[in-house]
Structures are given as C-alpha cells and as structure tokens.
Amino acid sequence: MKKLRCCVIDDEPLANRLITDYVERTPILELAGSFGSTQDAVKTVLDGKIDLVFLDIQMPQLNGLEFAKIIPADCRIIFTTAFDQYAVQGFKVNALDYLLKPISYDDFLSSVNRAVSWHEMKCAAEGRSTAPDYLMVKSDYKLLQIPLRDILFIEGLKDYVKIYLTQDQRSVMTLMGMRTLEQYLPESMFMRIHRSYMVNLHHIRVIERNRVVFGSHHIPISETYRAAFNDYISRHSVALLRDDSDTD
C-alpha cells in the first residue's frame, strides 16, 4: 500500500519532535514536513498532496482549529492538544481523531490505524472514478479521441470494431477485437447484449421486442446476455415496479 504523507504542526518544539519521531518510526507513514507554526505549514499542506496532518490546537496567531478550516477536504486531521476543552470543537471541524498529550506511541498508532483504513477506502473509491472518460483509437492512420458519452453502441466485425457515435450517425472503424475493447470500458456504462454488440446504457431510449433501438439500428439482445440485461433493466425501471404493485 502507498504510504500516507504526513505533516506535523506544533509550536512546542519537544512535543513536535516527539510526534515527528513517531511518524518517522512508523513504516506506513512518510514525513512531508514538520512545522512550528501554521503559517510555516500553509504551503506544504495546501499543495503538498498531504494525506494526514497532526495538528496542535493551541498555537499563537492562526490556531489549529482555524487552520483546520483551510485544510483540503481530502486531507485528514488528527488533533493533538494538552487540554481537552477543545475536544468537541475539534470534531466539529471533521477531525479523524483527537489525541491528548502527552501522547504515547500506542495511542498514536491506533489513530494512525484509523487513518490507514480511511485511506484504503479513499483509494478504492478513486480507483473506480479515475478510469478515463474517453477512448483513444486508431482509425485511417489517425489517432482519434472519443468521449465515452458520445458512443451509442459498438459492433464487432471479425478483426474490427465499428463504434457508432451519437452525432450525425457517424461511426469509426478500428482494428481491435470486441473482447479487448471491452476491457477499456467501464461496466457501469457499457453492456454486452450480443456476441457482436455492446451498448452504451446511458443512451438506451427504446427497447422493442428484445431489440435495443438506436434510430434506424435495431440491436438484438441474444439469449446469452438476456438475463443480465433484463436484470439491469428491472433494477432501473420505475414503470415495471409500479406495474407489479398495481397487479397485487
């Protein structure tokens, strides 16, 4: 797993040094910087791709609670303080945890574990959403970038695929197998409904007698893919659900 990039911000030099030391001896953490004031930390925290900040609350000028408000949302905060009067406030600014000084390494580690599980969740979510929303294909000696949302459906032809686009009934032919292309397309958007056809679910407007209709094109839903396709349709169909309840 990727290390979590951390910042330590504490105006008390010894408290700062201890937390910094804890960070350095924890393999899952990477120290991006250690600062004696919020002002010194601003630059790194705002553009340093920081995952986790250990933030003291009681600091002169811009204190930890005020500073927390400008920390990017995808960066989590563990407050460190010698006084508990700020605890409730601390959670209001969406802190991951709150550590009361003096902080033992055990307490530190249990907070870090919370940060690690949060980070794993975040990475998983990003992995789903960072798939590119376009396709690069070679056609007629040109490289074309096709936004996925512009694709109506795809037809497999021997060694080629023919990509039908939403605009002007245009299509693009490219040398590629259906199976290869399928791997580049998000499952949530494209579905195979026939050995030779894959449709963009977002563009389905009419289904008629086991055929998906795109203008003049009638795409057959073959036996093999029917169950999966019908399942998708019933999950998204308000009308069918209502019909069911009416018949009761």
Partner: protein
Amino acid sequence: MLSLWVNSTVIYVMDNLERKYRGEIQNDPKAELDRLKTQLNPHFIFNTLTSIYALIDFDRDQARRAVRQLSHLLRYVVYDIPEATLERDLQFTRNYISLMKLRLRPGDVLDVHIGCGDCGDLPIAPMLFVTIIENAFKHGRFTDSSNPISISITARDGHVNCHTVNPYTPDQSSDAPHGVGLFNLRRRLQLLYGDSAILTTEGDGRLFVCDLNINLNQK
C-alpha cells in the same frame, strides 16, 4: 485533576495571604475569580509535562532536571506560599523560566538576570512576576525579530524591580495584546500594595516593555 487540585489549594493559600497582607478578607466573588486567574496557568503545567514526556526519549538528564524543577515549583505553589520571601519567590521564578525554556525554539534568544540583592529575607506576595514573564514568553517566542526576550529582576533597599523586554507582533484584532493577565496583576497589586507598586507597560509595535516596581518596606 491536577489543575483543580492546585487551583483549589492555591485559592486557600491565597486567602491566607490576602489576610496577611491586607488584614481583611475579600468576599467579592468577582475578586475571587480574578484571584484564581492570577495563579499558575494550568496550560503551563500540562505543556511542561508534555515536554518532559518527550525529553525522556531525547535527553534523560534534562528530563530528570525538569521533573525536579517542576516538583520544586509545585511544592512552592502548594506548601510554601504563606512564607514567601523574595529569595524563595525568585527561586520559584528561576524554575519557572527554566521550564519555559524547554518550549523555546532554536532561534529564540533569552537573556535573564535575576538577583535578590540585600532583600532576600523580605516577605513578598508570591508569584507576582510570573504573569509578566509568561507574557514575555508568549509574545516574544514567535516573532522573527532578532531581539532576545529579556528578563531582569533586581532588588535594593527594599525596592524590587522586574523589567522585561520582548519582541511582539501587535494583534490587530485586539487593542490590548497583553490584556487579561496584566489587568488581573494590576488589580492584585492594587489590593496588596496600593500605591507602593507601580506597573507600567509600553509597546511601540516592535518591542514590548513591562516594568514593575514594588516597595517592600511598606508597613
């Protein structure tokens, strides 16, 4: 827990002291509250404990020294205050400064001169200097100025003078940057010494100067 205990003990001790110095008891609850605020700041104790906790890893000898100093300091606050003399109070002040030094950053410079002169045995209301010194640290610690925090306490012929100079950044959000602590100190001085104590403060936007003169020969 510790802070509550120290505070309540201190309130009790302070009551005795006010009697001793004024010959009367203050019953005004507001005055009680203000007196409470003049005491050792619990933040100081917790920050010091946190620093010592870290020192155990980094410098055991210094950690031991700091525990001794904190123990002397608490002993003075808890037990010895009724018998406060200038010498004892200055010893307390030295311990306080030593512990505050743990919280200085590498660039901070501190300049301290403390002596009781020929007045060591004179009784004095305890912990009058701490507020002033706490302020000097609080505001002097985070300015980029090359000026040191300077603390001087001298005494002669029954007159004691505490003089601090620290760099500071004027706080635009407040017109009294060294507000509450010094305000309470002023009230306490008025109560204890009346016209025999003079506290002056002056900030020019760059350096803050605090000067306290007390005539201990009063009465």
